[in-house]
Symmetry: C2
Subunit: 263 residues, 2 copies
């Protein structure tokens, strides 16, 4: 996963914060993806805390979309504990605050096997029978550069069955494996489920919360993205992810603004 | 709703922050309830922003449980916008940070009617056929003082059907109506769903995210609390709330530490 790891690297700035370089390749319409930004904040949080390797929870508010290029991350350790630590991190660019997030860090290797689970993996057509989503989909004006950095395969036959839901696969190139930080990205890597409801309007994220529940096995991720309630201006989306061993690895929810596309 | 409104009041401290008084009545085992603390932070956020009346999203990390008594709330306005503003708020007591939360504020009166919804209200036995949960349940050592401030009625016949789920009603006394701030409390007012799985252990909240989706109609709230994945030390719980008109008003999720009760 050299690509993603390199693209989310943070370097201590010598004054308690971190420098990051927002990669133009991990963008949607020229703007860095929200899950990609959350992963950068998580890496700064893990490094600043120095106590636990993995994000267990990440909750972000998106304030202003940054551009590719240099950005600064400031971090405040709120609590360090034996089993978990909690951290706040902020990404800013040219003195403009872009994203702020709260993290709970812990050690997923100690999570053990599930005692009880109510989240069976949903059916998705076999990966090899689905096409990778192209960065420039025919008939759309939007270029999604990040789709050239990983494979997103959507089960188009199953879209809208049930309504408001889409399912598919995510895979990193060159056999690279997912890890708890790249899972934060995966939680925001699917298209908005609102398009299954007949709208291809923008859905800029206001709030995104991701729980990482297990260390993922090697192989692709199985993803289900669902909208539950669409009002005039807001929509929530639930993203659930299973690893190749059918174990739940991500439970995420986001609240997004909803704007009708201009026809 | 004088009780809850009084108990969550914040007063400007003259230095940009707020003073709060944590009420001993809104406690579980002597400690202020997490949703109650989130409501206090929301009131400070709304007052500090001065732009929008309602919390649309609230995401909190719980660091250290405060005691009843005086507490301080500090607030930073992260972004003010036309349709939404975003705020960070922190509750501390005696220089110890207890809770920190990120808010998106907006105006729910402008939310309009749902365009699409996939969240039918679940069956719950009629309110008058269910007993209010007592503050001191027989056979438990835990006193839940807040249960004398509102009515919580659990459908015991339906507990564990399906497994990991409990359903019931919440009502404020004296015909008081719920509002977007008290809905933040409602999202954390039910018992942990883990007890339907045969455990009455503690589940201290690490992270709680609440989306308030509509202004609630007068009358009781219908609540469904579900655990989805229980691992060795962590559990997530989804809390969904409908108002008396069967409209979705709250979508919430929390990640909690899970400790077996000592037998």
């Amino acid at each position: 996963m050299a690509g993603f790891t390199d693209a989310t690297r943070v370097r201590p700035d010598g004054a308690g914060g971190f420098d990051a370089e927002l990669d133009p390749l991990w963008t949607v319409g020229g703007k860095p993806n929200g899950g990609y930004l959350l992963a950068i904040l998580a890496r700064a949080a893990v490094e600043a805390a120095g106590t636990h390797p993995d994000p267990l929870s990440a909750s972000a508010v998106y304030l202003s979309p940054p551009d590719p290029g240099p950005a600064a991350v400031s971090v405040e350790v709120l609590r360090t504990g034996r089993s978990a630590s909690q951290i706040r991190a902020r990404l800013s660019q040219k003195d403009r605050t872009c994203v702020e997030a709260l993290f709970t860090l812990g050690a997923l290797a100690a999570a053990g096997e599930p005692r009880w689970v109510d989240a069976a993996p949903p059916p998705v057509a076999a990966e090899q029978d689905l096409f990778p989503t192209p960065a420039q989909a025919p008939g759309t004006g939007l270029r999604i550069d990040m789709l050239e950095q990983f494979e997103q395969r959507i089960d188009w036959q199953a879209v809208g069955d049930p309504a408001g839901e889409l399912r598919g696969w995510l895979r990193l190139p060159d056999g690279a494996t997912w890890d708890p930080v790249s899972l934060l990205f995966a939680a925001d890597a699917f298209p908005p489920a609102t398009f299954t409801l007949g709208s291809n309007g923008w859905t800029p994220t206001l709030e995104l919360t991701v729980y990482v529940r297990a260390l993922p096995a090697a192989g692709p991720l199985r993803v289900r993205q669902r909208a539950r309630l669409l009002t005039e201006h807001l929509v929530d989306q639930v993203c659930e992810i299973w690893d190749s061993q059918d174990r739940v690895v991500v439970q995420a929810t986001q609240l997004a603004a909803y704007r009708m596309a201009t026809p």
